[in-house]
Each structure stands twice: as C-alpha cells, then as structure tokens.
Symmetry: C3
C-alpha cells in the first residue's frame, strides 16, 4: 500500500469565499504516483468546508445567501460561542451544512469524477492562514 | 490491496425520489471479492445525493417536505444559478443537506451496518440518466 | 494491508447530547498498530451523528438550539414518520444536518488533525444503548 500526504494553504482576505481546489488536488494525486485507491480532502479548521459541487459563480452567490439565511453572522449575540470572544459562531454552523471533507475514488491515476464535479474550499471565517489536508492511500 | 469499481445507473421519471440501493451495493461488494476494507458510494452528479437512513416511506415524505422548505424549487428567480437557463438551483442546495457520499466499512465480506442502516440514492433533478459510483478498496 | 474494527457503546440518559469521543478513537488507533491509512468513524444508528468540530460548550448549546429550529421535535404530528409509533422524526432530520460519519487521515500513528479538530458523537434520540463503529485500514 502506498500513501501520500500534502497540505494546501489558504489566506482568504475577506470573511467568506469558495475556491476551486481541483487542480491542486489533481497535482497532489500526480505527485503520489497512486493509480487505484481513495483520496481524502478535508478542512483542517472547524470554520471551513471542503465540498464537491458546480463551478458556477451564480450558484456560489446562492450558497452565500442561503447559508446566511440558515445561520446569520449577525447579531453576534445570537451565538453563545461568541461569548468566548470569537465572532465566528455562524461559521461553525455554515461548515456543518457544507461538510468537512470529501472522499474521492482514484481510478487509472485520475480523480474518478462525473462530468461537473469540482472540489471547493469553503471559507467562512477568513483573514488568516488556514489549511486543507490531502491524504491518498492505494497502490 | 484489491480494488473494485462499478457504476449504478438511474433514470428517475419525476424530479425527485429516494431509491434504496443497498442490494446493488451488496452485489458490487460480492463481485469484488473484498472481505476487509472500505467502500465509497457517491453520486457522480451535483444535483443528487447518496445517504444512509431508514427505509420508511413516511420519513421519505418528511424529507421531501423539509428539503422543499429549506430550499424551495420555486420561484425559479430565487436562484441566480437559474439565470444560466437551468431550473435546478434548488437541487444543488438539497444535495448539500443530504450529502454527496457515504463511506461504509467492509467486515467479513459484508457491509458493516447497524440494524436499520440502508443506502439511498436521492434524486433532486431527475428525468435523465444519472450515475452513482461504487469504489471498494481492501483485501 | 492491516485492518482494525472496534465498536464504541453509548447509553445517553436524555434525548440529546454531544460527547467528545476523540480519546476513544485515539485508543482504537493505538490498538490497531496502524501508522499510515484512513480511519472511518460512523454512527451505526440513523438517529445519531458523528462529526468533527470544536469542544466548546457554548457552541454545543448553539447547535442544540439551531437544530431544534431547523427540525423541531414537537409537535410530533409534524412528521409522518411518527405515525409508525415513533417520536423521533426530528432526530432523523437533525442527523442529516450533522452527518453520519467522518473519515480521518492517519499519519505517523496519529489522527492527522488541525489544531481544534475533535470528534463528537451526536445523540438525537437517547435513552437506550447505541453504537459507533471505528474501522481503520492501512499499514
């Protein structure tokens, strides 16, 4: 069994963003030399997500609006978590909707994807350096 | 390490449905000859889900109503994504709630399940052929 | 390839709770002797979750309130599922928001975690014995 590990680093200027990380994951897979197996891609921070959906800017605006409806940032007093001095209570909730991780099949040395699948980093509490982990096992 | 890959195809007549795919996944596992490992089952389309829950028709009606409350199909103008000519903005949101994939343990050649766990394909934008990927690694 | 399997048992007195199970998962990993691979941790019941977030009591109170807003327990007549004689229709919905499982990388014999990642069992229909599965594959 072979295994490979790589960290992807991000420093998003604003509070929230969706970044297509598919090329970075494909590059990690190429580096690994693994052709059959599973690849795990997960946010290493609890106010960010990794998820698979469409690379369409309108959809990303829809997600932003929807997540803000489901778990509004303000008022900060909405979240007991913010009593700790944080202002990111909403980010911990948005992350649960969008998910922590994806697991993708590796077949023939490629990400085994349907026609529109792309991997995104979802930042909900930016303005600082944060990481995504790529771990690949297989042969 | 052994690996196995199979695609399951669906063509749901209406817009939405939940289909129990556990027997198909069990059949793929039997074909693989793998007795210890992990099995990944994921929607290959971004307006569909694979999830594990109860095979109870009342619950599925509850999910349908709840998802329609959280991310209504109409009015289409609710979603910028629909400005691309699509009418499936809601489906991209419903899929995020229900999830893209499940990872299930394989033990003694069986899906290592609790008493009520069943695997479902969740279609949110049907009327055409769509796929689920089953990838198994182990020995 | 090595593999390891362990069940974690819980009997939560009340209806709902979040329990930090990271030490139990770390113990399973140590027992396995696996140093590179993937670890799957999943609820074996369909009214419970396993998820990764922050071990902060205020946040857990926020989650409790938020999940009750998104999928209220009462009135029981809200859910067709409760016509089966159950009163846990809400729990099947809360579990979908928080998720069934996590997959975590194993690197150097440790859970390959960011600074605040902790694994939680989320109980939404307690008062009886329920299980979490830990399955580890690797070498």
């Amino acid at each position: 069994m072979k295994n490979y590990r790589e960290e992807l680093w991000f420093n998003i200027p604003g509070r929230r963003a969706f970044i297509n990380i598919t090329p970075k994951v494909e590059n990690a897979l190429a580096q690994s030399g693994i052709t059959e197996g599973l690849i795990l891609v997960n946010a290493m921070h609890i106010t960010a997500s990794v998820f698979i959906n469409d690379d369409e800017p309108g959809l990303h605006q829809d997600y932003e609006k929807w997540l803000e409806e489901l778990a509004p940032h303000a008022p900060l007093s909405r979240y007991k978590h913010n009593n700790t001095g944080e202002d990111n209570g909403d980010a911990h909730h948005k992350r649960q909707i969008m998910g922590r991780e994806v697991v993708v099949a590796v077949t023939g040395g490629q990400l085994d994807f349907g026609p529109w699948e792309q991997i995104f980093y979802g930042e909900f509490d930016g303005g600082r350096k944060k990481r995504v982990l790529v771990k690949i096992i297989g042969e």
